[in-house]
Assembly symmetry: C2
Homo-oligomer: 358 residues x 2
DNA sequence: AGCAGATTTTGAATCGATCCAATGAAAACA
DNA sequence: TGTTTTCATTGGATCGATTCAAAATCTGCT
């Protein structure tokens, strides 16, 4: 007395239609994967059966197990998923990754999670052929998890520490040096650094011992590059305020409040990311300070937004999209030894930097 | 004489470590998936074996087949993958999707392809629990492919035609009407429409029969909304130029060239997307035409960029992120009948529209 | 020691396909 | 007609795990 067509829909399997069409599952499989080798009459019969039974085609879940290859690469971060679409750096990077994936026909899986347990599980169970790991925050943990999967993976924005992991990044020390040198050449002597995180979940002024204990080598390297160059022109770097932000609006503004509360406010700001620098530009303008007349700002990254800000941002450009492309290639052709690439950075001088007043 | 440790690395399976630890694979499996039910001593032994043999943990490929659920939703488009990170509409949509996925712990798989064959294959073999389909270009084909997978899926930006597919969209006719009404209320009588694609791979002035043959109902609906409202105030809509763009810079500029080559150029432009409208703004400014004094422009979508353009863009805002969130929920709780949601749109008046000169 | 009950462990079945060596049938040739 | 080739089909093995009913072991109690 139950329904005619419905029933409790156990999904149709290849074997079901094989039986219905009166052929072996081997033949049924061939109809879908190599139709040319099966006789036309049989092929049609099987296809008809499939049609009749509402068969959706070979289930990729089954195929996967046999084939081994997923044909997708995972991009992992400890940020929420929306990071991929919000953050300018991430977006350019993803554009590069997309390009390389499109070219090779690979798909992209976005892996992320709110909390740490979820993250671990998501990485452990991600169906991918390899990982590209965004080492922004929570980088070390991510790298550890990715490594445990024993799949090819490459770390982005390399925290150069561990030579055993494949990584693609830039020479942060040299890049930061370029930024600092640009400003000292212009005559600046009073600096403030708005830093990326040195370790998880902390913001505020940074003490030297915290720098030494930095989880993120990238951040430390940039600071090293800055300070080394400042020291070269005789600046007492121990007096240079370094404020650790979370690379977001709120903490950056807090940092600006702090460093400009000083009696001798900086005439130049070294921002470790364009995101931070752009927030600074806005904050300074709201505060009535003119850029670059009152304060110069130099960013880091070279995101597209930096070219169209008011004023346009002087920055250290990384070949972001190229890094993405390289990362994909490193995964797909993961042979040989761990590949570590260090790409060049470039100082791009725009309107946000100029000589200090007077 | 070959290497000591290497060998030809057949990856370690759960069964291997089970044998090594002297337990059944059932027990070995339990050690990883429900450690609490296995005796501590055994657990340690198995874990030690795993460690020693370099076992990466249960392979998700195997688990997947048994479990059935992938725990990821696929987002499909016929555009290249970079579309997700470049296009403003897509980005806001993806932000909404991300949010909902983060909340439920689901992952996101980006599915796309350069050519049609690849696309079909990629959709057929995507490891996902459901699809969200971006029906921008190539929409109908995409919907067809997604439907064939017999997985839950929802079409975005609904081409309302087919009531049997779940879809989430806005009332395009009413939205377009709002835009046109706004301009006629301001006194405009000479219009041009810059349209989204009516069918694949075509651009140029559109004839009525092409509209009737439109593949994309969304585009047709918006046009209907525009023209109906224009007709209401006595405008001969057969004289209103409708230029079909590919929603990109080049074709939009070509459309502008065309409609402004007329003896009686429009005083108001109805753009079917903010992307088109923003290009128009730029083109008009470069051409020395002032907005809104010489020409008014009204967009469609309500992307963030529209709020910060010069001048800010008057537009019909869709609740884009909300649509994304709804779509995810529709997939994950895909029970009951096909869910079709029509969300409200809103006219947002900004600086790009004003009364016509004189 | 004997037995009920609780706790662990086992091993076969299952998930849904692909692959391939063997078999069968038909065509080609002597 | 017998033998070789060619082509199509079969069915068992495999991919790597999970699940669960049944068997084995351990506890506690009389």
């Amino acid at each position: 007395m139950s329904s005619l067509t419905a029933g409790n829909r156990r999904p149709v399997r290849l074997a079901d239609i094989a039986k219905a069409a009166g052929v072996s599952h081997g033949t049924a499989s061939n109809v879908f994967s190599r139709p040319e080798i099966v006789r036309e009459e049989v092929r049609d019969r099987v296809r008809a059966a499939a049609e009749a039974m509402g068969y959706a085609g070979p289930d990729p879940k089954g195929r996967l197990l046999r084939a081994g290859k997923v044909n997708a690469i995972g991009v992992a971060t400890a940020e929420p998923l929306s990071y991929f679409f919000d953050d300018p750096f991430a977006r350019v990077m993803m554009a590069g990754i997309s390009q390389a994936c499109d070219a090779t026909g690979a798909g992209i899986s976005l892996v992320s999670a709110a909390n740490n347990e979820q993250l671990a599980w998501n990485i452990q169970s991600a169906l991918v052929d390899g990982f590209i790991v965004f080492c922004i925050e929570g980088g070390s943990r991510l790298v550890e998890l990715a490594r445990e999967r024993k799949l090819p993976f490459v770390a982005l924005d390399l925290d150069s520490e561990d030579g055993s992991v494949a990584a693609i990044g830039v020479d942060n020390i040299a890049g930061a040096g370029l930024a600092a040198r640009h400003l000292t050449d212009l005559g600046h002597r009073r600096f403030a650094v708005l830093a990326l995180p040195f370790a998880d979940d902390r913001t505020g002024l940074v003490l030297p011992e915290q720098v030494r204990a930095a989880t993120y080598a990238g951040t430390r390297d940039r600071l090293t590059g800055y300070l080394r160059e400042l020291a070269r022109v005789g600046i007492d770097t121990s007096k240079v305020p370094v404020y650790e932000t979370a690379n977001d609006v709120a903490s950056t503004k807090a940092g600006l409040e702090t460093v400009f509360a000083s009696d001798t406010p900086p005439t130049a700001i070294l921002a470790m990311s364009d995101r931070i620098a752009l927030v600074a530009l806005e904050w300074l303008s709201a505060r009535g300070l003119r850029v670059p007349d009152d304060v110069s700002v130099v960013g880091f990254d070279g995101v597209p937004e930096a070219a169209v800000s008011e004023p346009p941002l002087t920055t250290i450009a990384q070949p972001i999209a190229e890094m993405g492309r390289l990362a994909v290639r490193a995964i797909l052709e993961s042979d040989g030894p761990v590949s570590r690439h260090q790409l060049p950075v470039e100082l791009i001088v725009r309107g946000s930097s100029g000589p200090p007043r007077g």
